[in-house]
Amino acid sequence: MNVSSEALAKPHRRESGAHLPRSAEPAPTSRVWEHGLPALGVLAGIILVLGPFLATVIRSLLYWDVDGTVSVTLLNFTNLLGDPRFLEAARNTLLCGVGATVFSCVLGVSLAWIVSRTDVPGRGWFEVANLIPFFLSPYVGAEAWRFLAAPGSGILHRLAEQYFGLKLPFLNIYGLGGVIWVLSIFYTPYVYLFVISPLRRMDSALEDAARVHGASFVYTLRRITLPLLMPALLSAAMIVFVTSAGLFDVPFALAATHGIRTVPTEIYSSLQYPSDFGRASAFGMLMLCLTVSLTLWQRHYLAARRFETVSGKGYRPRIIVLSPLGKVAALGLELLFVGVGVVLPIIALIMVSLQSIWTGQFRTGFFTFDNFSYVLLNYDLTRTAIGNSLILAVTGASIGVGLSVLQSYFLTRGPARGRGFIEAVLSLPIGIPGIILGLGFLILAVRTPLYSTLWIILIAYVAHFFPLAVRTVTAMLVAINPELEQSARASGATWWQTMRYVLLPLLKPALIAAWLMLFVIFIRELGSTILLFGQGTETISVALVALSERDFGFVAALAMIQVVLLLSAFALFRVTRTSLVQD
């Protein structure tokens, strides 16, 4: 299983087992480290989660009257619920979330099935290529698709008209359809990662039995394969829904400009002059109720179900030999996905970034490298932004992984009492949309020296995404038998020595995977940054938003730089994974 899917799926747990022999009881100082440090990590995690959460709750209950008097009331909520624009935003957000989830699930399962269960040519290559959109920024994807499919000026429109005399009025990236399209492309790899492992581990005898008894291919798929995939698929669907519904970037680029509101863009809008923190907080609270409930339901659902695709028998899933037509269809779907998710957006960005002025088509007379030299060398904002993003990604990923080791240790080796509750609390940030978390930290930090600094952005990043690292590390930690540590302790090693020489080396692959995953997410993160940045603390994503309102060439050049950074991380990820397999 790919490490990323382990990070997103709920890990299995193994109890720590036997106690240490009496002779190896640790010294009191060692015991303080052993229990104190992981507990401190957990405490830090809880503060990171509850701090912004409580700030948003409290702010949503405060109402400032015209004369400046403050009261504790539900007025922010009643005002919001009585506003038809809230209902419109909620409806649109729901549509985006559901639409993106449905399309991502259909595409993700299809692609995973093609790669894992069929003999389509180039499976190894597609296995890698299908993951690339996971590493790219949805905001950059939205910008690229603007260049490709904006009505009247999109590259695809121009090509269709120029070469085929065709007009494509249906191809309009602006609006909810465009948002769902881009979200689906970028969230399909999430579903793919979730379901490819169960598909590979599935006992093909079940499908064979169905086919022997006369079931058609579609019937077998519907009644055998999909039900077996259901736990993984539902987990993926939940993550995709919660994440896509809470995403600010794509609706901001493709819907807000056309007067279409969603909850994240309305929260942003509420904080524009004249700012209404009460309205924004109430928006955030209502959204949180939905996403956190879904996250908790997902945890409950997974805890109650058993994964039944894996048995004790050793077997390989049967590879289905596709008919020539089937091969063409499967190959076509793969090429289409990689084309629309990776190739076309990157081509569009390259074309636009090499033009002094973008006219909707590539003109040799406007060819220039100036956009790259401008964003890399001549523009303070972008140079600062690239530096800040790298600082945040490297530092944030390191802190996130450090924190995840302590928390995972506590959750797998620590006291069993209250563990479920702590784990549930620590997993909450996954269900909190970035912009709401950013709002919470803004409320907390606005009157402190942290306001407008890189520190507050760093804290928000770590708070939002550490659960992903915790899951990756925990998944590995539960697979390591505690007897290894107990042997080291019985031989006289201190807790710290045991960690350093036994546990951490064994955890290394998971730590690298978690670090790279956080690095990638931090490089492209926008939702929580957009409310927290200040002068000199802009990130690449913030600079992209600023440039997207100014010059297509600049934004495309900076987007290409971000793509190169993210693809480098992807390449590193692959290299790491290769060594993982060899180990």
């Binding site: 904006a150 009247g152 973008w358 309102e549 100014r550």
Partner: protein, 363 residues
């Protein structure tokens, strides 16, 4: 006196003399009266100690700011290490940021230029703007008389207007009035500024509503216009052909894009245009007040205005200033300006106008 004391005294004398010499070398001090020399000298000394300046604007492109910074440092003989931190922002974002900083008493911004007159007047009345009597204000008397600035608090660094604009490669428009646009542009191919999310577009709408009937805006709304937050986006949409015409074209952007090969045209409609004057002020709690005062002096000077007009096609409010590109940046007296007294309005009036705009365009 020991050798050591003598050497120390000589060193100190040398340092003072060097400091004075470098301050005297600053072009800003040449030919100035002794009082002015003392005043500017003290500001320069203070600015050097402060080391930087935080300047936010909603119009000036970073490339233009680079030119301004070079000229600014040269004028006052500021060291290479002196840094002007510049941010180009959206008006609403900038207002929000300043509000947050004022509310939290954590001001990081020194100078800002914003076309949100009602808001600026309110901030001034609350004592949140620094009172500074720049000598350059002497050249902006008529601006103060017109209510576009307040002596001792703010003038504008360069005005601009939003007018009907089109790409002449895609449309041959001969109209002279706002109302001529209605027939010239098909549904879905018109763009305009998003007044719900931009105070400058809202201000323009408030002005236009005084010279245009409500019916005009209803007809405009029926064209299902694309609503954008920035003038750069509006111009870029015309260049790519995504839209045919915009209600909110900024001649500045036409000037900048036409220099790169675009064919944008615009008209100053006969009904009049709303002049947006980015009030350029210093915040009372500015962390670098000396540098901020020098910046205000510079940006309103003949040199500053020349750079702004040549690079941004902004309309200068400085008396006697001759525009080098009058077709894009006409003299202020040649424009039919919509008369509007911002000092008599408040935030509630803006909120009302915003609600009116929302009801018409229902975005």
């Amino acid at each position: 006196m020991t050798l050591r004391t003598t050497a120390l005294a000589a060193l100190m004398f040398g340092a003072v003399a060097l400091g004075q010499a470098s301050a005297q070398e600053a072009p800003a001090l040449k030919g100035a009266s002794p009082e002015e020399k003392a005043r500017v000298g003290a500001l320069i000394e203070g600015a050097v100690k402060e080391g930087s300046l935080s300047y936010w604007d909603t119009v000036i492109q970073p490339g233009t700011n680079d030119k301004l910074v070079r000229a600014f440092k040269e004028r006052y003989g500021l060291p290479a290490a002196f840094k002007v931190n510049y941010t180009l922002s959206q008006t609403g974002d900038l207002v929000t940021r300043i509000e947050q900083e004022l509310g939290a008493s954590r001001v990081t911004i020194d100078v800002a230029a914003i076309s949100a007159p009602i808001w600026v007047f309110e901030r001034m009345n609350k004592g949140e703007l620094l009172e500074y009597r720049s000598p350059e204000y002497a050249h902006y008397k008529r601006i103060f008389e017109a209510g576009l600035g307040v002596d001792g608090y703010f003038a504008f660094n360069g005005g601009y207007v939003f007018v009907p604009m089109w790409n002449s490669e895609n449309l041959d428009f001969k109209g002279k009035s706002y109302t001529d646009m209605i027939a010239a542009v098909p549904e879905g191919k018109l763009s305009m500024g998003d007044a719900a999310n931009s105070t400058t577009f809202l201000a323009t709408y408030m002005g236009q509503r005084t010279v245009l009937p409500a019916d005009f805006f209803t007809k405009l709304a029926a064209k299902k216009p694309i609503l954008l937050r920035r003038s750069e986006q509006l111009a870029a949409g015309l260049v790519t052909g995504e839209q045919t015409m915009t209600l909110s074209g900024m001649p500045t952007r036409a000037y900048q894009m036409n220099q790169k090969g675009a064919k944008l045209k615009f008209v100053f409609p006969k009904e009049g245009v709303m002049l947006l004057a980015p009030s350029t002020f210093i915040l009372a709690k500015a962390p670098h007040p000396n540098a901020a005062k020098l910046w205000i002096d510079f940006i309103l000077s003949e040199t500053g205005q020349k750079i702004l007009t040549e690079s941004e096609a902004l309309i200068s409010g400085r008396a006697g200033f001759k525009s080098p590109i009058p077709e894009y940046s006409p003299p202020i007296e040649s424009l039919n300006l919509i008369k509007f007294d911002w000092s008599k309005l408040n935030v509630q009036d803006m909120a009302k106008a915003k609600a009116d705009w929302l009801n018409t365009f229902n975005p």
